[in-house]
């Protein structure tokens, strides 16, 4: 183990600590050691793990497909009902007059018949629930399976509804706009000369995309849903609506000014997700601090004894994000390679300690809510919380493996990346056990499929991230498009899908307006298929690119070989973007559309019918 840290110049104590930790994780030395011969790829734990997790997905999908296919075959082989009905009809039609007379005679021999008034008496029959008046004999065949309806929750404070709706609508605006930009920069990989405008060049638009979907879409959607959770779980009202609106304003202004600065060429220094200059980012940070005060005070005035597990994640996510922004932007230790240490820390913690933490907190509330049953284990949630804090905080440098940063710093990052298995497994288990036995519920819901996909990607994406951190896998995948695929699996497959699941759970309850189920389905499938068409080719292409570099092929070959994979990315991206337009319409449908008098008022309609 110690020989793997040959280049280290660290005190013995640190090495000893590391050795102990690595020992706990087991067969860690091949993970951390310097790569040996490139030929024994299949003995590398990183590669084996990555292949295993991808195979897991493929095999389970294949199994599912086989089971489904089996059912179809079974259905086809059993005699369909209408055939039997036909047989019966024919038998009746072929009865002889003598047989018919016999049947009629038996029928008349029965002494009494029910009149129909036995239970109701002479009174007028009200059909308040429309049980009878809504029965239809019009046998329409729906295009897709019909999902259960969601009804309005009458006890939500209208002010809270307004605030949350405003957050969700702003977030969705940034989602559509931000991914439109992302789609356009993706197209530029295929058609680099599509425009020659300074403000629309790839180098300037790329950070516009990433920052807009981070701070505009994801952060605002998270906060908006968070306000709902924190007030409901504390069984209290939100501490201050005014502060909620101020925070929304600040964050929106920061994204607007930040994006304009970036296209104008005012870039903080090029570090990923730190591209907004400090006067812009400080608006965002103040917005977060105000939101934190609001969340904290709401929890403080809760009328429940315990703090629900969701709020652990929400409060911690906010504190961590604020700490992170301050450390990321303070200049005192950021000259020379200091900048790089902070950059690795900042960009990874941004995803892990803010987006992932906060979103998981939301899932701890909305998953039980949409299943109408409690979370499987409170304790697992607590375990995941503390391990997330201890392990995730230390892994930023895994973005700079083999860089001039100190070897021990890289080793710690790799060790704890592997340690991330614990919170990930705890979280995934908790969610899946909560879902267990609710198969019918998932099939009948239009929000649960989003949550399910998000949870599955949470496992796959996180394991993938751990595997990518190993030294050997860095040879193949570092600097390639594989990273782009990974970041989209996490920020889109995990975070965006979970947020959509939460939004579709809660938004219809606000005003009792449901989105069109067909369009929710369209959103789901476009986003999922689009994401897969995006990440799978980039993972394949990224691998080929890395292998080409390892074989010392001319660099240009690695550009040329990516062409078809970049085209697939553009296609996948197009589907994803389309799904966002559909989602935006659905949100509008739920939150803004003028109410139409229709079956949402069953009492009135049933009265007029009678």
């Amino acid at each position: 183990m110690t020989n793997s840290m040959k280049n280290s110049t660290t005190p013995v104590k640190r090495v000893a600590l590391l050795t102990a930790i690595a020992g706990l994780i087991g067969q860690a030395s091949p993970v951390l050691s310097q790569p040996t011969a490139a030929t024994d790829v299949w003995s590398q734990p990183g590669i084996i793990g990555m292949v295993a997790v991808l195979l897991l997905v493929v095999v389970s999908v294949a199994l599912l497909a086989i089971v489904r296919l089996g059912r179809v075959v079974q259905q086809l082989s059993t005699q369909p009902d209408d055939e039997r009905e036909q047989e019966f009809d024919e038998t009746v039609a072929n009865l002889t007059p003598a047989q018919l007379a016999l049947i009629l005679e038996r029928r008349n021999a029965v002494a009494t018949y029910l009149s129909g008034d036995e239970l109701a008496g002479d009174g007028y029959a009200h059909d308040e629930l429309g049980l009878v008046s809504h029965v239809t004999t019009d046998m329409h065949a729906p295009l897709v399976a019909e999902k259960k309806r969601t009804f309005r929750s009458s006890d939500v404070d209208p002010k809270l509804i307004q605030l949350v709706s405003a957050y969700l609508l702003c977030a969705t605006f940034w989602l559509v706009f931000g991914t439109l930009v992302g789609w356009y920069v993706g197209v530029k990989f295929v058609r680099p000369d599509v425009d020659h405008l300074e403000w629309l060049s790839f180098g300037r638009l790329r950070p516009v995309h990433t920052n807009m979907v981070f701070w505009g879409w994801t952060s605002l959607a998270m906060l908006g849903l968070g306000y709902f959770v924190v007030a409901r779980t504390g069984n209290t009202r939100l501490f201050s609506y005014r502060l909620g609106w101020v925070s929304l304003l600040l964050i929106n202004v920061s994204v607007i000014i930040g994006s304009i600065c970036l296209v104008a060429g005012i870039n903080n220094g090029g570090g990923e997700y730190r591209e907004y200059v400090w006067p812009v980012m400080i608006l965002f940070a103040i917005g977060l601090i105000i939101a934190f005060v609001n969340f904290y005070q709401t929890v403080a005035q809760r009328s429940t004894g315990e703090i629900y597990i969701s709020n652990w994640y929400l409060l911690a996510g906010l504190v961590w994000a604020i700490t992170l922004s301050v450390i990321g932007y303070l200049p005192f230790y950021q000259n020379g390679l200091g900048e790089t240490v902070i950059q690795g820390y900042y960009m990874h913690m941004g995803v892990g300690m803010w987006f992932m933490t906060f979103t998981l907190g939301l899932v701890y509330y909305f998953l039980p809510m949409s299943l109408n049953k409690p979370i499987y284990s409170y304790s697992l949630g607590v375990l995941a919380f503390w391990t997330q804090l201890l392990f995730y905080s230390l892994i930023g440098t895994h973005h700079y493996v083999f860089s001039p940063l100190e070897w021990w710093l890289q080793t710690i990052a790799i060790v704890f990346s592997a340690g991330m298995f614990i919170p990930v497994l705890a979280g995934t288990t908790n969610f899946l056990m909560t879902l267990k036995g609710s198969g019918k519920h998932i099939a009948d819901s239009y929000s649960l499929p989003f949550l399910l996909v998000g949870i599955l990607f949470y496992f796959v994406g996180s394991v993938q991230g751990s595997m990518q951190a190993f030294r050997f896998t860095n040879l193949v995948w570092h600097f390639t498009d594989f990273n782009v695929a990974h970041s989209h699996i996490t920020m889109y497959g995990i975070v965006a899908f979970l947020l959509w699941g939460c939004i579709y759970t809660v938004a219809p309850r606000f005003l009792g307006r449901e989105p069109k189920q067909l369009l929710v389905g369209v959103h789901f499938w476009l986003a999922l298929i689009g994401l897969l068409a995006y990440v799978v080719p980039l993972m394949v292409g990224g691998t080929l690119k890395g292998l080409s570099w390892m074989a010392d092929k001319p660099f240009l070959e690695s550009v040329v070989l990516m062409a078809p994979f970049w085209l697939w990315r553009a296609i996948g991206g197009t589907l994803m973007l389309l799904s966002h337009f559909v989602f935006a319409y659905n949100l509008y449908d739920m939150l803004l559309r003028k109410p139409v008098v229709r079956t949402s008022l069953p009492r009135l309609t049933s009265l007029t019918h009678v």
Partner: protein, 343 residues
């Protein structure tokens, strides 16, 4: 005592405190240490204001999104520099100004080539101007964005304006003389200044981690049997080192880089001059850009492979070169240079 589920102050305080402590331990302290313990290497500072301004243009245009500037200590990165990068290589980096932070030049994606040694690999300003104006003018397969706003079109052109020879295909109908703006000059000054500096005497560079077998040789490359059969892959080496200027079709670019197809020097039965130009570089012809020397970067057999590839492609039909021949030329040059310096 540990009633986190009931005491929100304790919960937030503990979670925040632990995170702050870990952050100081894993980020702030190492950052501070690496900042304090490394002084810039002699010669590694941006030498003048123009180069510094060029680096700002580099940041403005978001070049760091696709170009790394780090030679990792692994075998595959040998093509980007002579030694792995060390913290001192980056010690000169500081905040750009009060508004903007330290430039994040190490990068995290290598969609385009690493630029640690771009000034060494491609010293020609002419090439850089053409490449920035539209990368497709010099590298057909490139997907890098064009930067025409760093150039302007003028009616008449002065002696020092570095007019670009751009073919109609990339002019978008513009008939004027295309010259670089101030920003383009700064950016190119920055790019050609990028080189790994020598470590001071007594400092040993860290070693590359070797993880693979000896580089493969392409035996079928040479047309005839014998000595040339053991040369490395000349076509691949040509793509890496020569193609950006002389082009895949060997025709060069009019007004910028001379053709090799049908060239008298390339096809000469006596390949002495060809080998000499590759070893030493060339700057004798007014109408063409400077060619860098490859003597220090490539081995005798690699140069022989490239020359052999050039002499047998695009209709060229000259005899292959051997590594021994290149070695002989290299020694002759060395003797001559020593003689000149002695005199």
């Amino acid at each position: 005592m540990f009633d986190f589920h009931k005491n929100h102050r304790l919960l937030v305080g503990t979670a925040g405190g632990i995170f702050l402590f870990l952050s100081l331990l894993i980020a702030v302290k190492p950052a501070y240490t690496v900042q304090e313990n490394n002084a810039p290497l002699p010669g590694s500072l941006p030498a003048n204001a123009e180069i510094r301004a060029g680096m700002n243009v580099f940041i403005e245009e978001g070049c760091v999104a696709c170009h790394t500037q780090q030679v990792r200590n692994i075998d595959m990165d040998k093509m980007w520099g002579g030694r792995p990068g060390i913290p001192a290589d980056y010690a000169w980096r500081q905040r750009i100004d009060n508004l903007r932070a330290t430039p994040s030049t190490l990068g995290t994606e290598r969609t385009g080539p690493d630029l640690t040694e771009i000034g060494e690999r491609q010293p020609s300003e002419t090439w850089h101007y053409l490449h920035l104006f539209n990368p497709r003018t010099v590298v057909k397969e490139s997907i890098m964005p064009a930067h025409p706003w760093l150039f302007r079109s003028v009616a008449s052109v002065g002696q020092y304006d570095n007019e670009l020879t751009v073919s109609d295909e990339y002019r978008a109908g513009d008939r004027g003389h295309i010259v670089p703006t101030e920003k383009a000059r700064q950016l190119v000054a920055y790019l050609v200044s990028l080189k790994q500096v020598d470590l001071p005497d007594g400092t040993t560079a860290p070693a590359f981690i070797e993880y693979k077998k000896a580089p493969p040789t392409v035996a079928a490359n040479a047309p005839g049997p014998g000595a040339a059969a053991a040369l490395p892959d000349g076509a691949a080496l040509y793509t890496t080192h020569c193609q950006a200027c002389h082009q895949a079709n060997g025709e060069g670019l009019k007004g910028a880089f001379p053709p090799l197809k049908g060239s008298a020097v390339v096809n000469d039965a006596n390949a002495e001059l060809l080998a000499q130009i590759i070893l030493q570089g060339y700057n004798a012809r007014e109408e063409y850009a400077v060619m860098p020397a490859f003597g220090a970067k490539l081995s005798d057999s690699e140069i022989a492979a490239i020359a052999t590839h050039e002499r047998s492609s695009w209709g060229n039909k000259a005899a292959p070169l051997t590594a021994d021949f290149v070695k002989k030329i290299r020694e002759t040059i060395k003797t001559e240079t020593t003689a000149t310096t002695a005199r």
